[in-house]
């Protein structure tokens, strides 16, 4: 073991941790506000990446315009999905259970639609920057530095949005006490709808970022979803701060496991940490805290 290896591993853990953080935030927003777990999460992330790829290669748009268009697209896709399907479900008894099952079914449907439309071959989104930065013995791609930067800025913006805007405060209010939110004049279904749309966009964005570092197939979404699930549970379901901490812990754990044990050990180590922390602290890292 040498210091160079460790530093390189920590840096790579920070990079995947930041990607996991943004992915887990989409899941956390939906869980926090609507109190259902989105089993369609993975494919939503994949779709964000696929639409970007589509606009990039088929419409011939530049990388940034393609991403922006995909984000707008994902927002309205989420809003439409909510209005057309989840909103009617909310009016039924047992809506939480029906919604969870519906989202799972929708995930499988979308995965297969994506398979039909795009085929099973692996796709990439190009890096934002070429070249790398060398500090001493540590070498990091500019692209990966930009990923960390983007995620950190995103977290700051999200935090500002949640704490300082009427809409963000209304989302937190719904997350913390639904009757209380109604009492102050917040329309629950309206907040649900926009929270779902926003989470769909954020999740799509995480898929785009993941697609620039790793690769995408229609099936990879399930892996991403399981990772997202572990992270949000570990962070304390519904807590944004907890999810961010958990994402970095798991990112670094993954990098260390890959270095010392090999990449086949990543999943066993993830679940070992998951089970251990939950045994010691069943409420998760930021347990009991809400959005």
């Amino acid at each position: 073991m040498n210091i160079k290896e460790i530093i390189n591993t920590l840096v790579s853990g920070l990079i995947s941790g930041s990607l996991y953080a943004i992915m887990a935030l989409g899941l956390t927003i939906i869980y926090g506000v609507i109190h259902v777990f989105n089993f369609g999460h993975g494919i939503v992330a994949v779709l964000g990446g696929y639409f970007t790829w589509l606009f990039l290669t088929k419409l011939g748009l530049g990388l940034i315009p393609s991403i922006l268009l995909a984000l707008v697209f994902m927002f309205f896709f989420g809003l439409l999905l909510f209005k057309a399907t989840i909103n009617p479900l909310l009016k039924t008894p047992n809506w939480e259970f029906s919604t969870i099952i519906f989202l799972l079914g929708m995930g499988i449907l979308l995965e297969n639609l994506a398979l039909q439309a795009f085929g099973p071959r692996v796709k990439h989104i190009p890096a934002f920057f070429e070249g790398s930065l060398k500090i001493g013995f540590v070498r990091v791609n500019w692209h990966e530095i930009s990923l960390i930067g983007i995620v950190l800025v995103f977290i700051l913006i999200l935090n500002f949005f949640l704490k300082k805007t009427w809409f963000g405060q209304a989302m937190r209010a719904v997350a913390q006490d639904m009757d209380g939110a109604r009492i102050v004049g917040i329309s629950i279904t309206r907040i649900f709808g926009y929270a779902f749309a926003m989470a769909t966009m954020v999740t799509g964005f995480s898929g785009i970022l993941l697609g620039t570092k790793y690769y995408m197939t229609p099936h990879i979404g399930w892996d991403w979803m399981v990772k997202g699930f572990v992270i949000v549970v570990l962070g304390g379901l519904g807590s944004a701060t907890g999810a961010v901490y958990a994402a970095f812990i798991m990112g670094i754990a993954e990098a260390l496991a890959t270095l010392y044990l090999g990449s086949l050990w990543v999943w066993p180590i993830w679940f070992l940490i998951f089970v251990t922390i939950l045994l010691l602290r069943p409420q998760g890292l930021a347990g009991g805290r809400t959005l």
Binding site: W166, D179, I183
Partner: protein, 239 residues
């Protein structure tokens, strides 16, 4: 406005159910503008249910509810708040992970109140200096009395013309009770506001109220000016 000077609230023959269970049976009452009315009644006979029907939290199944002459029995709760009705539930329903200040600010969520956040905040802090001291404290850590004050304060932030308060004194020490009722007395004298208050405690509210209603088995069975009724008479009517 349908009439020249309509009552603040006019409830006629309201029925309300939870599933099969009928809780309100043709309940009727009325509040003039700026009037303070107390609704007494035994436990479980539908007082809270009536307030929830007015606020649109658990809408009435039948009957009419008019606020300043306008029918609101089918209106969504968000719009009822916007029209000027504030509901302060017995359960408080505070946003427990937010600070006192954030809770109060959210009380002014409706479009009409947003432009008056600063004035209303000053008013609430003047009414409950304790809340001003705890402005940055997380609501979950407030004492019972403080969280009751916060619930009332949050209701006042909406700039309401009709305040519905459910058992503001429940579980409070005598000193806290006096503080809360004192605040309601101040609201009454200073603000252009009508108050419909549900209470178990009799003495304080009787001193505050203009009129009294008694609700039993989902019906309003008695209506009297507060000056013409006493504790014994109210308690007798419970049985």
């Amino acid at each position: 406005m349908t009439r020249f000077n309509p009552p603040a609230l006019e409830i006629q023959d309201v029925d309300s159910f939870y599933g099969e269970l009928q809780v309100l049976r043709k309940a009727s009452l009325r509040l003039q503008q700026r009037e303070v009315v107390v609704l007494f009644g035994p436990n479980g006979h539908g007082k809270s249910t009536l307030l929830k029907a007015i606020a649109g939290i658990h809408p009435a199944a039948a009957g009419s509810i008019r606020y300043l002459g306008e029918e609101i029995s089918r209106t969504p709760s968000a719009q009822i708040v916007e029209m000027g009705v504030a509901y302060i539930p017995e359960a408080r329903n505070l946003f427990t992970d937010m600070t006192v200040g954030e809770n109060l600010r959210l009380g002014a969520y409706n479009r009409r109140a947003r432009s008056q956040v600063a004035q209303n905040l000053a008013y609430v802090f003047d009414l409950f200096p304790r809340l001003a001291e705890r402005r940055d404290q997380i609501a979950a850590t407030l004492s019972g009395g403080e969280s009751r004050m916060l619930a009332v304060g949050r209701g006042l932030m909406s700039g309401a013309a009709l305040l519905l308060i459910d058992e503001p004194s429940i579980g409070l020490s005598p000193i806290m009770k006096r503080a809360v009722f004192g605040a309601i007395a101040k609201i009454k004298s200073a603000r252009d506001i009508a108050v419909l208050m549900v209470e178990q405690e009799v003495e304080h509210p009787l001193r505050l109220a203009d009129r009294v209603y008694l609700l039993k088995k989902g019906r309003v069975i008695l209506e009297k000016p507060a000056a013409e009724i006493n504790k014994a008479e109210i308690e007798q009517a419970y049985f």
